[in-house]
Amino acid sequence: VWQALHTELEAAGLTIVTVDLDTDIEAARPFHDAANPTHPALVDPALSLVDMFGMTNVPFGVWIDETGTIVRPAEVAFAPRDAERVAAAQAQAARITGLDPERQAVITEMLKHTTGDASRYADAVRDWVRDGARSQYVLPADEVIRRSRPRPMAAAAAAAEFELGQHLHRAGHKLDAVPHFQEAHRLDPENWSYPRQAFALVDESMGKPYELDLLLEVGRVGPATFYPELTI
């Protein structure tokens, strides 16, 4: 999906680097192979970028200039086709599963901003590539830091719990990982990267370790926290 923008802007000085945040990269490989990217396509099975940049979901984007300076912190970064795909998936899910009104309302609310953001984000990237530091979208250093995610003790503790869970899961102690993933979500409920990854790791050998229904949980915590509104 990002390949088209990379191809469009590569000669003008932009390199897109995609980073897959999957504990199990094999889960992502089919998507990677289908995209067949010519840009660097990296994997981060430890999900280190979640903590480094405060990426509370995917997709998130960070802008780095020619000197290695961050000029926009992590924020929701939909490529245009992503939003179309999400909308199509939403319609399909509603048709096929006959989602109840409560879950349907959560989906509608959490996707409220995404369609409009898609073209806005790509257009802002084009503006930056064309105008560089003069682009209206390049932020001063103090604003980059201010807009990056706050890290109170609860969020820092959630990162530590998630790391323990990740390690135990990869070491084969899958059920022992579950309480740590649950604690990470309890401590930092607006960081959806944690439960989304944890839920995706459930396999048949684990039974049903989570009582949570992700959609209803998004509704409880706040649909607007799922894809925080892009301020660009």
Binding site: P59, G68, S148, A156, A159, D176
Partner: protein, 114 residues
């Protein structure tokens, strides 16, 4: 970062965390954080006391005798606009250092199958 014990020498702590225990406290670059008396035992630093003094959480798993030392709390995830070191593998297992792209603009995009 993952730890298999919560007592370690000052040298081990330095290697694991990047924080060096000095008379003035725990130091990394120009920054020094004062520590209590516990840090004077260079051969056996109590990581729990270190974590508390540094404002770092220490998550524990009793069954597996494992701990995870989290990032320092307070402020924001970014303390500066300098890009942290990012060296990650590609899908073929080849390491890639994002710093090799200096001189170009970089749009770093996260995604996942989940």
């Amino acid at each position: 970062m993952l730890l298999e014990r919560v007592t370690m020498s000052a040298d081990e702590l330095h290697a694991a965390t990047g924080w060096e225990i000095k008379p003035e406290g725990a130091c990394k670059g120009p920054e020094c954080v004062p520590l209590g008396d516990f840090a004077s035992a260079r051969n056996a630093v109590d990581v729990r006391a270190f974590a508390a003094a540094m404002g770092m959480p220490l998550a524990a798993d009793g069954k597996h005798q494992l701990w995870a030392l989290g990032p320092r709390a307070g402020g924001h995830v970014l303390h500066s606009t300098e890009l942290p070191e990012i060296v990650l593998d590609d899908f073929d297992g080849n390491a890639f250092d994002v710093a090799t792209l200096r001189g170009r603009k970089v749009l770093l995009i996260s995604w996942a199958s989940w």
